[in-house]
Amino acid sequence: MRTNQLFFTIIFIFTIYFPIYSQNLDSTASNSSQIDMAKVKELRSQYKNRTTWDQIFAFPGKLLFFPFKLILIGTKEAIIFIDESKIIPKVQDFLIADDGSRVAVPTYTSRIGVGIKYRQYRLLNPESRLSFLVMYGLSQRQRYAIDLERVSLLKDLFYSSYGGLYEKLTTEPFYGIGPDARKEDRTNYTREGVATKIALGVNIAKYTSFETLLGFELNNILPGRSTSSPSTDEIYESETLPGLDSEVKLAKIEFKLLYLSINRPGNPLSGFDARAKFGYFQQISDDQFKFFKYYFDVEQYIHLFYQRVLMLRIAAEFTEPLSGKQVPFYHLSELSEDRSFRGLNRGRFRDWDMIMGTAEFRYPLSRSLEAMIFADAGQVSSNIFENFASKNLEVSYGGGLRFISGGGGVTKLEMGKSKDGFLVKFTLN
């Protein structure tokens, strides 16, 4: 008999004979008061779930799914283990106080890495909070910060904040200055810095506050650690790139006007988050760097309908050195800092002035999960008022997912496309 004839004969037997046999439900079970294993097996065989034909037809799909199913079953067992061992509640017990006055949350940014943010609320007065941040990432990127915020003064007339920061950012990218900076000209540097601040604020109206901040920072620029691009100090000289290779100590004074009317933090449905900042920076123990910085940022959240939110943002930053003075290159206005431009790498465009706008549409996918689509556009220039042109705008667009936790924390996965390509960014808390 030829092979395929034999094959079809076997298939025919399986698809005709066995189904007929298996559908014969001539039960011989009796209603005796006690049941024995043989009868149980017989009954289970008679009422079995699948016929042979079912099993054959279902086999290809089951086979394909099998390796993934093993992984999913492993995941399920891990869930059982975590649940039974109460790891999460025990960690929460360690990290979160019963009365909510102490909280620790994991955090992640692509700029640094993973970390933990610890907050102690109601330390000195009900609104005050003490925060510690420890973050560490690849290439020894790290950030440590301590902040004591909203300490009430003069019977709640004023509030004060104090802070200190150490960070070492070892693979900071630099592409050159100006709107024509090329992706291929990427270099990297290490910025090691210490900063302190004291701020005094006052609530001047509903949602509105005004702050004055005095700060000090010390920055060292060191060779970059990334091997995918040359170190900035190999390509540039400190004469052409102010701030390179030198320990720069800066004192600053900033004035901030804040307007915050969002209906809820983290995931607002409506309201404004607006800030205007004016700062003056002066080098200590040298006279090379003296400059002003003006910063404006307005975000408006518009609740369109049924949890669909349109977020519109416009931001601008202007850096202006005093006559004959300079600005460290890392203090230039930047188009793609952490919060702003998706689709472009950090530090992609720097110059004296920056302006950008964002439109983002968020909508619910299911409980706790949102999708968003966005478009960002912006430009840097030595003088944005003279050189602004829509055709020179850098544009990126894309979408992403937002997971909103019960405590209001937001985890984001954003994917942006620009002329530089496709970029994925993940942020936790």
Binding site: S27, Q34, V40, K69, E77, Q92, S366
Partner: protein, 573 residues
Amino acid sequence: MNISLIIKIFLIFVSTTLMRCGGPKTFQVPPQIPDDRNHVPPPKSKSIHTYSEYFDKQIILQIDEAVDLARQYRNLTGTRKEAKNVDAFGEIPNSSWFTNRNGQRKMTLEEIKRGSNKNYGPDTSDVWVIIRAKTEGVTPGFSIRDSRGDTYLIKFDPLGYPGLASGAEVISTKLFYAMGYNTPENYVVYFHPRRLELSKNVKLTDKKGRTRFMNQQDLEEILSGIEKLPDGSIRALASKLLDGKFIGPFRYKGVRKDDLNDFIPHHHRRELRGLRIMAAWLNHFDTKDGNSLDMYVTENGKCYVKHYLIDFGATLGSASHGPNHLWRGYQYDVDPGNIIGNILTLGLYVRPWEKQKGVKYPSAGLFNAELFEPMKYKPQVPNPAFENLTLLDGYWAAKIVMSISDEQLRAVMKEGQYSDPEAEEFLFQLIKERRNKIGRYFFSRITPLDNFTLKSGTDGSQSLKFEDLAIEGGLHTDKETSYFYEIEMAPQQKLNIQAGEFSGDKSISLSDLQKQLFFDPGFGEYQTKNYQIEVRIKLKRAINSDWSQWVRVYLEPDITQHKFKLIGVSRKN
């Protein structure tokens, strides 16, 4: 693989499918379903992890079913497997899972109000000793022992919503019991906190996973989050501990291997598939394995596993810890279909349930009938038995749901003891409308002629009587309905077809047929051989011009008695 081989495989597949679909020409009486209440040794006690079950149902089960080509083929061709525990009339026998109650014999108002309750609840005149703290689930509570020595689980209504969870639980318990399921005894109770006495060594596992002894402060913390009446007393739900040995929840799929009475896969049991419709009716979205319970009981001298449905606090407009969420009943917690749809439509399509207005009555929670569609109802997590529901399973469930009359429903609503009569009336109207929607849906797709009986006159002549369940349920009237019948001998010998159209009296005379087949010498051969008579009936309502699908009733001759006997009903077309 060449084209001719592919064609050969396809032809074999089609031919075998057609052969299997052809089926016998006569009505095949299914074998009697064995009783599953035989004496068996006790199975091992098992628990189910909520989170892993959630993961299993939401992810693994969904993908498993999606890649099951045999299942997908059956879904596409509308040839899902029918339930395996069905008799010749589409009914199921009484078993450890289900008891035919209101669906087959109308319960009295007293019976339906009492439900599964055997007494009046815990004794509130004496001390309640707290013996265990409830740390599972979303609502706080504890177990108490009353002065009679009975143990009850005490659960409370959420703050600001008096009667929400307790009312929903009592009403749903009684309705599920009336429909045939095994349910615990649930009582609405009022007690004063001073009746509570904390037993020594009551262990508590708090939200942070710490196990320690419960103290007075814990008790006060629980009580501080509970609505109190003006006189300081508290309303609660008292659920009596079930008799027997606790052996854990049952699964909606497969069999429990160590239960020797369990031989029909659960996802092929009609009562579990049909539960989808009953659950949809009462918005019982939390039909996960963990809200079921197997108890090893002793009844009538036999020890066997009895299967209960429990925990109905999340039904009607209640989500136990507060009113229902907007999406409950309309999408799973993780609903890939909805998620993909939302992604593709960029959120611009607003689903009707998203537009629901807020809670109208705190005691009633969030509940509506306007958006209710029986077959589109989705529980919190997918349920394997529900996903196997066929139209016949749904019809069976719809019959039982529709058997609950307005009067019975009102009687049950009173047991909820709502302090707000408007809330009670609001709920009643919604439950009634959802019930009627179920009836309208299934009775328009399966001809709702049922409860066939053969009546004999004094002269021995028989008539086939039936009920039109849509008329019985108040959905249609006699005036707008007409019936058409044909009588044929199986296998399909068109022997002297008797046919006719009628309305009003739901009865078909068989006397002429009796005379022909039993007494007419011209039909002598039929007086000795076996055969079946097929009486097929269809109906038409005035609102549309189409006749419904046939219902086929099968009779067998009893030659000695010169009568027919009813052997089965088929609704397959």
